[in-house]
């Protein structure tokens, strides 16, 4: 009872103290840093820019502030020489516990206040795609839990050392490590979680789970360290060892410390989020596996049931083998390392199976014995929480499984057969997936998914595929059917994005671009069977296309991007730009290794968008909003100090130089190169001649060794030399 009284007294006292108030005020302001100075989330989605970054910066800054406040408050009694006095009134361990605990409500108050203040700002900045779930989770996890961690760490440092300056240095080093050397290690960055993007249109539970896991393990660990330091709280004028020995007479204290630290160790080592794939991308033992003799696979089916509430998957995969070798053989499958294989049955009998420890490219190897019978039906039951690749641990979140979005790729969908050849049919596959009723299933291939039954709010979908892998998207999608360029296009985008897409005239843009580009450059190679799916994906940092489907990264369709300048004068024109990338910019079109190369996907894309706009709105409009802008920006670029005096650029250290070249490359790619192409157009004899050249370049037979379209290719096709296109 006395403790409770003291605790509430302590909280009330803190609330009136100037330093605590200052820390609260600064904490409320701290998300500002995420809009300006500290922007760890690199993606361009609205949620990344206006929610993740402010919350992350808020966590980092207010975490440090609360650490400092903790030290200040703990040192206060010592400074004021009240120690002997308070020690007499209450055992020092109790006092220490209460002092640290009293800071937690202050931290909670700071968080609540921050969330209240920033809520309207976020709604205003993020617009129609903003929602409360993401907001609360982002602030609680990215910012909120940084505060108790910092308080525990600082308090532990003080209780060990009993010196404010020394513990401040320790705490600063601990926080500094998180911000620098540990910043790219998702488990170690205790202060600033490793978040690169939050999706606007779909959910973000996967990345929230990962951050929550990191936070909880650290809180456990720091609580353990704190308990250890608490044992060392000096009492009866004894030293650190004497006090610790005295404290340990109550056994639950060391036991609690030990338990917490062991929990932390286990939690750290056995994390379920990221796999242990071989970091060396040259290691491809799964791909080099020899095919088995005398055994072929004639088809497979899979029934997949994702659990959208806890982000797991359960599945049953059936493989049809015909084994003509007359002996038992071992079939190998790649399976997501997070999955457990529950059972394997061959023709109804239990078959021996094992999952290997080696992992590569986000797969572990499952080996199952295929008996020496002619036709074998192998049934594998598997399930669990899919892990993401360790190589992408700084870019987590793509294996999102929720009511809003699902993306299951290859071995995360069903075990991927590695060492058995198909019979004549290829590997025909029939996939069934059970999902909440409102979700649309979009297989990333030419075939359509068909809804075969529905009950209890769940629906079963079925589609045909071929091959050993396969990618499945599902989500709360809107589908628009558009006929353009002689093919049927299914344009899928997130329901939350409807407003933005409609404002930007998305479906008209699709029609315009596909018509124009098909006519001028030729049909898309991956549009198969007269149909093409354009799927807006969750933020991914790129896209891929093939087999009748192509991804559109949501990052390219945010209202910030659509309203931004450089890619077009109006949202609809930016939409056109992004869609033209389906022709110029996917897969093997441009060498992605040097992102500052002036010759990039952007040059031809910007040029094509300009031509489309010219056709739509006339030459004057295109001149005013395109060529004139390019000229202005390019002139500015030529005036830039580093362009005028390149020797100063060479003097700079490597990283600075790269940064500046990167900053300048935007103009070179988006303005200078289109101007050069425009100049080439004049030199080759007009628009029609240029269209002919580009059409040839688009449909050229790429060299497998270096499949990219180079600037030299372009110049050769035009019959021009590099100096012909110099602007001046």
């Amino acid at each position: 009872m006395k403790a409770v009284k003291y605790f509430s007294y302590e909280v009330k006292r803190l609330m009136r103290e100037r330093p605590a108030l200052l820390v609260i005020i600064l904490s409320v302001l701290s998300p500002l840093a995420g809009l300006t100075l500290y922007r760890p989330a690199s993606a361009g989605t609205m949620m990344s820019v206006y929610l993740a970054n402010p919350a992350l910066a808020g966590g980092a800054v207010s975490g440090i502030l609360f650490g400092a406040l903790t030290l200040y408050e703990l040192d206060r009694t010592k400074r004021k020489r009240m120690e002997a006095l308070t020690d007499a009134a209450c055992p020092p361990t109790d006092t220490a516990l209460i002092r640290t605990a009293a800071l937690l409500p202050i931290a909670a108050a700071a968080l609540m206040l921050t969330m209240l203040v920033w809520l309207p700002v976020s709604f205003f900045k993020i617009g129609s795609v903003m929602d409360l779930t993401n907001y609360c989770l982002a602030y609680l996890l990215f910012m909120g839990l940084a505060l108790p961690s910092a308080i525990l760490a600082a308090s532990a440092a003080y209780q060990f050392t009993r010196r404010a300056d020394l513990s401040f240095v320790l705490f600063a080093a601990f926080a500094g490590s998180s911000l620098t050397v540990w910043a790219d290690d998702w488990q170690l960055c205790w202060l600033n979680p490793c978040v690169w993007a939050l999706s606007d249109d779909f959910s973000n539970f996967r990345i929230f789970r990962s951050v929550a896991y990191m936070r909880l393990t650290w809180l456990t660990g720091l609580a353990g360290i704190w308990t250890l330091s608490w044992i060392c709280v000096r009492r009866r004028g004894k030293g650190i060892i004497g006090s610790a020995l005295y404290s340990c007479r109550r056994l639950y204290r060391p036991a609690a410390a030990l338990l917490l630290l062991v929990c932390y160790g286990i939690g750290y080592a056995a994390q379920p989020i990221v796999d242990h794939s071989d970091p060396d991308p040259e290691v491809m033992t799964f791909a080099e596996l020899p095919y088995l003799d005398g055994i072929v696979c004639s088809g497979r089916t899979a029934q997949v049931c994702p659990d959208t509430s806890d982000g797991t998957v359960d599945g049953k995969a059936v493989y049809m083998f015909s084994n003509s070798s007359g002996r038992e053989q071992t079939a190998a499958f790649g399976i997501n390392p997070g999955y457990t294989v529950y059972s394997a049955k061959a023709n109804g009998e239990d078959a021996a199976f094992s999952v290997g420890g080696h992992q590569e490219f986000n797969e572990a190897m499952l080996e199952v014995a295929v008996p020496a019978e002619g036709d074998v039906e192998l049934v594998v039951e598997y399930g669990g929480f899919p892990q993401e690749s360790s190589g992408f641990s700084t870019h987590q979140g793509y294996t999102e499984i929720s009511e809003k979005y699902i993306c299951l790729q290859n071995a995360a969908l069903a075990p991927r057969l590695l060492n058995v050849l198909p019979d004549e049919g290829g590997y025909p596959a029939e996939i069934e997936i059970t999902l909440p009723e409102h979700m649309t299933v979009i297989p990333f291939c030419a075939s359509e998914a068909e809804r075969i039954s529905a009950n209890d709010g769940m629906a079963v979908w079925r589609y045909e595929d071929s091959g050993t892998g396969g990618i499945l998207y599902a989500g709360d999608y809107i589908c628009q059917n558009i006929e353009a360029g002689g093919i049927d296009i299914q344009f899928y985008y997130g329901r939350k994005h409807r407003e933005v897409m409609e404002t930007a005239g998305a479906s008209e843009a699709v029609k315009t671009v596909v018509d124009y580009c098909t006519e001028h450059y030729g049909p898309l190679s991956f549009g198969s069977g007269g149909s093409l799916k354009l799927i807006q994906s969750r933020v991914y940092g790129g896209g891929y296309a093939g087999g009748g489907a192509s991804l559109l990264d949501e990052e390219d369709f945010t209202s910030d991007n659509l309203n931004g300048s450089g890619k077009g004068a109006a949202p609809g024109e930016v939409m056109i730009h992004e869609l033209v990338h389906q022709w110029w910019g996917l897969a093997n079109m441009f060498d992605p290794s040097d992102s500052t190369d002036p010759w990039s996907a952007e040059g031809l894309t910007v040029y094509t968008a300009y031509r489309i706009v010219k056709e739509l709105y006339g030459a004057d409009y295109a001149e005013k909003y395109y060529t004139e802008q390019w000229r202005k920006e390019t002139d500015d670029y030529y005036l830039n100090f580093y362009v005028r005096e390149p020797e100063y650029l060479d003097r700079l250290p490597e990283d600075k130089r790269a940064e500046i070249t990167g900053a300048l490359s935007h103009v070179r790619q988006y303005c200078e190169m289109p101007l050069k192409i425009l100049k080439a157009e004049k030199l080759v004899g007009g628009e029609e001649a240029m269209d002919g050249i580009l059409s040839e370049l688009f449909s050229r037979e790429p060299d497998p060794a270096y499949p990219y379209l180079t600037y030299q290719n372009f110049l050769d096709a035009c019959g021009l030399k590099e100096e012909d296109l110099e602007l001046g």
């Binding site: 100075l37 005036l639 830039n640 100090f641 005028r644 100063y648 003097r651 600075k656 500046i660």
Partner: protein, 234 residues
């Protein structure tokens, strides 16, 4: 009197609080230099007087807040308690306050010098040149009026109400966000980014148009007057 000035300076400078401010200032300065100044402002070199002036105008909010904090250092309740002791010293309180104001000014000027020195080191390391002469003019026209005005206005507001000084700290942030008239271009940095473009040449020499100079002078004088004069009750 000199002795007391030195004592007050020492009290202000040899203090964790002063070093904390310096640390924040250096960190913020480094960010500005590395992210913005390094690109050069309005086509000019990063080490031109224009880019340097832009850097300083971005540092004004920090210098401003620092100056006001130095002032509150002498007027906070804790400082008042000390002043009960020092008031016993044989010196008229009016004189004594002037000395403290001078000490705050000295600390602010020192902070500004640190900020300038940081830029000079940055120029030396990255560009191998550091022409202090060309940096003097922008420093004088940008930092000095800001510090002086912060000191004067802060002292004035402090006499009305202690809390007003804290609110006043946000003033330059507001100035940076507001569309100020061209003559006040130094306070939101627009002068340094826009004026060189008007000259038409790529590396224009540093020049201050009359109206800007007049406004800065007015701020300087206002600040000086307010920090010397005494207002209100006794």
């Amino acid at each position: 009197m000199g002795k007391i000035f030195i004592y007050e300076c020492k009290r202000l400078l040899c203090n964790k609080f002063f070093f904390g401010i310096l640390l924040i200032l250096l960190f913020y300065g480094r960010q500005v230099l590395n992210d913005i100044t390094i690109m050069g402002v309005s086509h000019t070199a990063p080490f031109s007087a224009w880019s340097f002036g832009d850097y300083l105008s971005r540092m004004i909010p920090v210098l401003w807040i620092a100056t006001l904090l130095f002032l509150t250092f002498f007027t906070s309740p804790a400082a008042r308690r000390v002043s009960v002791l020092t008031d016993a010293a044989p010196m008229p309180p009016r004189r004594y306050e002037a000395v403290r104001c001078c000490a705050a000014l000295a600390a602010s000027v020192l902070t500004a010098l640190v900020c300038i020195a940081e830029a000079a080191v940055f120029y030396g390391v990255y560009f191998g040149r550091c022409d202090i002469g060309s940096l003097t003019a922008p420093a004088l026209v940008t930092a000095l009026p800001a510090i002086m005005f912060a000191l004067g206005s802060g002292r004035f507001l402090g006499q009305i109400n202690e809390r007003l000084v804290y609110i006043w700290m946000a003033a330059p942030l507001a100035a940076a966000a507001l569309p100020l008239p061209g003559a006040m271009g130094i306070w939101n940095g627009s002068f340094f980014t826009e004026y060189p473009l008007l000259t038409g040449s790529t590396e224009p020499a540093f020049a201050v148009p009359a109206e800007i100079a007049a406004v800065q002078c007015a701020f300087l004088v206002c600040g000086a007057v307010m920090s010397v004069c005494r207002f209100g009750k006794k």
